[in-house]
């Protein structure tokens, strides 16, 4: 009964390794991962650069911004999300290339 009043916690699995047993459902996937000392690729943290893009293998997230600003239609169809803009709604399993950089962009000039 009391569980109604306390924020639920869910598990966070990254690249098939359980990294956070009790991740807050009020924090983004990125924030929970960083708090657990995972070198999760990230950068702008406002959902504009795509550095933290990752694939949602299982589970459900609430996206705080429209990821279509950054990710291609194909990527979205493949279940790609932005970790900095995703709050877990259930236990989530995420696949990410820990060495990736920002989305390649058109060269300057």
């Amino acid at each position: 009964m009391l569980s109604m009043f306390t924020a639920k916690a869910v598990s966070l699995t990254i690249n098939d390794t359980l990294v956070v047993e009790q991740a807050s459902v009020k924090q983004t996937v990125l924030a929970s991962a960083l708090a657990a000392d995972i070198a999760f690729p990230h950068h702008c943290q406002v959902g504009s650069c795509g550095a933290c893009r990752c694939q949602l293998v299982s589970g459900e997230v609430k996206q705080l911004t429209d990821s279509a600003y950054v990710l291609s239609a194909k990527a979205i169809a493949q279940g790609m999300i932005l970790a900095c803009q995703s709050v877990p709604k259930s236990a989530v399993n995420i696949k990410v290339n820990l060495r990736q950089r920002q989305l390649a962009d058109e060269p300057q000039e």
Partner: protein, 385 residues
Amino acid sequence: MFKYLKFMSFHLMALIAIVSITLGESYISMGFAIWVAVYLGGDILFGDDVHTPSYRFPALLTWQLWLALPLTVILVFVCCWQFASQDIGQYGAWISSLTGYDALQARQNTSVFQYGVMVVYLGLVVGVMATITGHELTHRTWDPVSLLIGRWLLAFSFDANFAIEHVYGHHKYVSTLNDPATAPRGRSVYAHIIISTIKGNISAWHIEQQRLVRKQLAVWRWHNKALRGYAMSLAIMMWVFWLAGWQGLSFFVLMALWAKATLEIVNYMEHYGLVRELNSPVKPHHSWNTNKRVSSWAMFNLTRHSHHHAQGQLPYHQLAPYPDAPQMIGGYLSTFVLTLIPPLWHRLMLPKLQHWDAHFATPAEYHMAQQANQKSKIAAYQACK
């Protein structure tokens, strides 16, 4: 208590503006003089504020920001009343019966000169109260109420689409040539106002169009946020026209363009001459920072710009002062005035840029900075080695 109140100066300034415009005549100039004295004078005299207090009730700070919308609406209404031929909503009669001051007679006596002051004055008040608040609120993309209020506030300077370009364009491209809002070395503020306004609007349109295409939605439909953004400004213009006819509308358009120009002047100051490699992380040294007390309070820490760009998701009260980041010449309000005299501005920024190149730039940025100097068309910059 004061840590909450210190961010309420724009509310006070709005009330002073509402009163002075209601009183009409030379009271309008007096209101403007108070604004300049408090903000510009305070900025020069009262030093830095580098505190970052913790807040038990951050929701109060959000409500303070939301209050900007009703205040802006009232302010624009009072201006419309000042221009209208009738006593709209019996406002003048109401003021007279309440205070005994003959507001309608005063309105008759208000000169064209005071109207001119009103445009300049209101553009600045709206620039601080609506535009900067709109910036803070539209960053909160996770909160639909803040986002909506923020976009309406920006619509008072024809700029609801700033909410798109700024978050998904500027924060990604800041200090690179891809960013419309970053002024390259040698550009004057007047050129920047025009170039950044045009390119910013085009960029917002492209970003929104791309989003719609990816979601397989039609571009010319109501779910196009860029179209809705223009419609919001159009709605405000229709309201102003309905209240005060062509005279009121002319005032509003001039005021809104000036408010938009003030935003671009602020963009100009914040990143002038800085360079960054595309796709490299945004660091504190990619913005000009300042911790001047009065600017920080008036603009709720927009001044702590280095941290804002390094961590764009943070609400303003969590921004740190970063005293080691590159520092602007003065506070926002005093630096604002300096940009208006381009030869002086370029001269004052030269040592700042040289220091930046020597102490902050990465090797790649140093090289880019040298190229930027060559392209600046300013002999003193080109002579830099």
